[in-house]
Amino acid sequence: MSSTAPVAVQSVPRGGLGKLVGHRLVDWLPAVIVLVAVVGLWQGLIVWLDVQQFLLPKPTAIASAFWTDKHELLHAGWYTFQEALGGFVLGSGAAIVVALVLARWRPLGTALMPYFIAANAIPIIAFAPITNQWFNGGLTKSSKVVIAAILCFFPVLVNTLRGLTSVRPQDLELMRSYAGGQTAIFRRVRIPNALPFMFTGLKVATVLAMIGAVVGEYFGGALNALGVLILARSRIFMFTQAWAGVFVACLFGLGLYLAVAAVERVALRWMPSTSE
């Protein structure tokens, strides 16, 4: 919460588009250097060791494969992204509601938490064939939406719940001194306090959503879905094209993550440091 910094007053940082994207260049620089080094090394090793290209393609080959097929790939990516997005919204929404309920009725929360944790240890992905059976043999988006939703549920629940319940006794005493009831406590203390935690969970969920959608499609999906595409190409040893598909999956996943991160920066602009 508030720190007792001995320094008298710090100036309020100004916002702006640069702040929206984030950190200072110095923080990024070593990481960028490493990226360039790794990609260069990847390319170099393959050329030098003359690794068979259809097994572990060069980055340049992947890039050109992507460029050639970009329409098909991006369409497929968009299709799968919709599944991921749907699952993300559904799963996160349900998780937030459940977190509010469990925070309101604490005994229920403490009793159920171990079971949620254990349930999270179940390989959800094994459920994919069953959801395919539920929804049109897996040829529509719905079955993957369900998988993605289940995957997103737990991290958002755990993080949001932790945020809702990490209020100090004095916060509650203060509200009681203002004759505040449960609703007031939730509205004015628990929920604002929970926002940073919730966003942490949401960011984890974005990653899981996209992965869940793609991998769910490995068990069956429409022909123009990204996961189906990647798997089909792997099976016929067209690895370069398969990696291009993976690249597209990463792009969409990253896009969703950055979108959530941007919303976070706006919603949490009151935080002393919004860096993660």
Partner: protein, 298 residues
């Protein structure tokens, strides 16, 4: 963040037994409640004929007791041959072997890498952001590809399950590395200064202070990785012709779903048991090794 360990008072064994019994009791209660919910949903949907989100019948939502009956029944139609549960558990054990091997390798490598990176901050500043960002590189997505690629290259003894173990190792090593670094750095600064005042060398400090401080973080990574290893093993088994694993059984039964739906559900039950067992083993190990209340870091 983490301070010097404050040991929990040793509990009398009667207390421990009583609490374990209570835990088991509530677990049974929860399972019964879930069973009740399942049957209630099923009955209501069939009774009302609702078709959203999906139509409910014996194929899409069999009775839970039917699923368990199927487990106990014969695997192949015709009433002969091994029981379904035997077949599935054998598959599960095969998958478990892959997952466990990968998990162990990944944990060791991750820990070693974490220790190195924690010590050399230059490496850390360069590599760590990418190690973290690489979690968005979907290992699960490329798993089938990696298995198809790696399988031919492995010696015969390692064939089939080695490649899958590799996937599990990859999934384990990243979170363990990140959490090892965070854990090693989390040692209380004043405790560090105290050690230095005893002229303790770097290794001593590492062993006596940083490492115990890192344990809760490492275990929280291991808990996540345990589940991830199982998932990775299942996914890795998908495209390749690895007939012995549980993944193959899942594919197998999903193909026969319309005639024998309970088989697929049964595989899910076994897969769930597999995932939970892995997780429980790590939890128990944590309770034994870290004799203070572990922080619930997710």
């Amino acid at each position: 963040m983490a301070t010097m360990a404050a040991e929990r008072p040793v509990e009398r064994s009667t207390e421990v037994i009583r609490r374990a019994a209570a835990r088991v009791g509530t677990s049974i209660l929860v399972l019964v409640a879930l069973w009740g919910l399942w049957e209630a949903y099923r009955w209501l949907w069939i009774h009302e004929g609702w078709t959203w989100p999906f139509a409910v019948n014996d194929t899409t939502m069999p009775h839970l007791h039917d699923i368990f009956a199927a487990l106990w029944g014969r695997a192949s139609p015709g009433g002969v041959g091994p029981r379904l549960i035997t077949v599935l558990v054998k598959g599960a054990l095969f998958t478990a072997k892959e997952a466990a091997a990968g998990f162990a390798i990944g944990a060791l490598v991750g820990f070693a890498l974490g220790v190195v990176l924690a010590h050399f901050s230059l490496f850390q500043r360069g590599l760590l952001p990418w190690i973290v960002a690489s979690q968005t590189v979907p290992i699960l997505v490329v798993a089938p590809m990696v298995v198809v690629w790696a399988n031919p290259k492995l010696p015969n003894g390692l064939k089939d399950w080695g490649a899958v173990a590799l996937i599990a190792a990859f999934l384990t090593f990243f979170p363990v590395t990140v959490n090892t670094i965070r854990g090693l750095h989390s040692a209380d600064r004043r405790a560090l200064e105290l050690m230095r005042s005893y002229a303790a060398g770097d290794w001593r400090v590492l062993w006596k202070l940083r490492f115990p401080a890192a344990l809760p973080y490492i275990f929280s990574a291991l808990k996540i990785s345990a589940t991830a290893s199982v998932v990775g093993a299942l996914i890795g088994e998908l495209p390749s012709s690895i007939p012995n694993g549980l993944g193959a059984q899942i594919i197998n039964f999903s193909q026969y779903y319309t005639t024998q739906p309970r088989g697929l559900w049964a595989t899910n039950v076994i897969a769930a048991a597999l995932g939970i067992s892995f997780f429980l083993i790590v939890v128990i190990a944590e309770k034994l090794v870290v004799r203070r209340a572990p922080e619930n870091l997710v």
